[in-house]
């Protein structure tokens, strides 16, 4: 069975500071990893995903995540956050089934302060 753990439930940070949201996974099979973001009063949106190839994946709004197989991690980073990045972030994995059932972490609320 797959499991995903997000180590921080809340991360407060000041605007323009760097941030890292941590995610660890466990899986006995090949795994695909996703970060979804949920802005206030909106649905989940895909931020970025790792399927294969380069272990560093990037989003269009400056986030990046690195797949680390030896540490079973997929941490999300951004070098300089904006107020608009305030949201809840979910790490998820698939691969345990052929059709892509997602297993989610508990979520991390990122709050960016001015």
């Amino acid at each position: 069975a797959q499991s995903v753990t997000q180590l921080d439930s809340q991360v407060p940070v000041f605007e323009e500071a760097p941030v890292e949201l941590r995610c660890n996974y466990s899986s006995s099979v090949s795994v695909y990893l996703f970060w979804y973001v949920q802005y206030p009063n909106q649905g989940l949106q895909l931020l970025l995903k790792y399927l294969s190839g380069s272990t560093l994946v990037e989003s269009i709004n400056g986030f990046e995540a690195e797949f680390n197989k030896s540490q079973t991690s997929f941490h999300l980073r951004k070098p300089s956050v904006h107020i608009s990045d305030t949201a809840e972030y979910f790490c998820a994995s698939s691969g345990g089934t052929s059709y892509g059932k997602l297993t989610f972490g508990q979520g991390t609320i990122l709050t960016v302060h001015p």
């Binding site: 995903v4 997000q6 695909y32 996703f34 979804y36 909106q42 649905g43 989940l44 949106q45 895909l46 995903k49 399927l51 979910f90 998820a92 698939s94 691969g95 345990g96 089934t97 052929s98 059709y99 892509g100 059932k101 997602l102 297993t103 989610f104 972490g105 508990q106 979520g107």
Partner: protein, 115 residues
């Protein structure tokens, strides 16, 4: 284009009532998922459809939960004899194909409160 839509957005039910939650996936999407998100938790898988076939219902918490997708497009999640522990946000997601590499597109969710 239109995304995944869900209705109603909010539902208040008295304990013991039956409720029906609707999901309109993105047109042409083969796969449809339902997830349940309790307060302060990540979404948890309920059930999966490939077109009209329900291929996995292992996440449904009890036999009070029933889902269907009769024509391979719109899906309905029905909860009979609702209980307080059913209070949660119910999320629907669809993807164009099938497979673990696919991106799932989520609807806004239906927030169910059982009193």
């Amino acid at each position: 284009g239109a995304g995944v839509s869900q209705s109603p957005r909010y539902k208040v039910a008295k304990r013991g009532q039956d409720v029906a939650l609707r999901c309109d996936p993105i047109s042409g999407h083969v796969s449809l998922f339902w997830y349940q998100q309790a307060l302060g938790q990540g979404p948890e898988f309920l059930t999966y459809f490939q077109n009209e076939a329900q291929l996995d219902k292992s996440g449904l918490p009890s036999d009070r939960f029933f889902a269907e997708r009769p024509e391979g497009s719109v899906s309905t999640l029905k909860i009979q004899r609702t209980q307080q522990e059913d209070s949660a946000v119910y999320l629907c997601a669809s993807s164009p194909g099938q497979g673990a590499r696919e991106t799932q597109y989520f609807g806004p969710g239906t927030r169910l409160l059982v009193l």
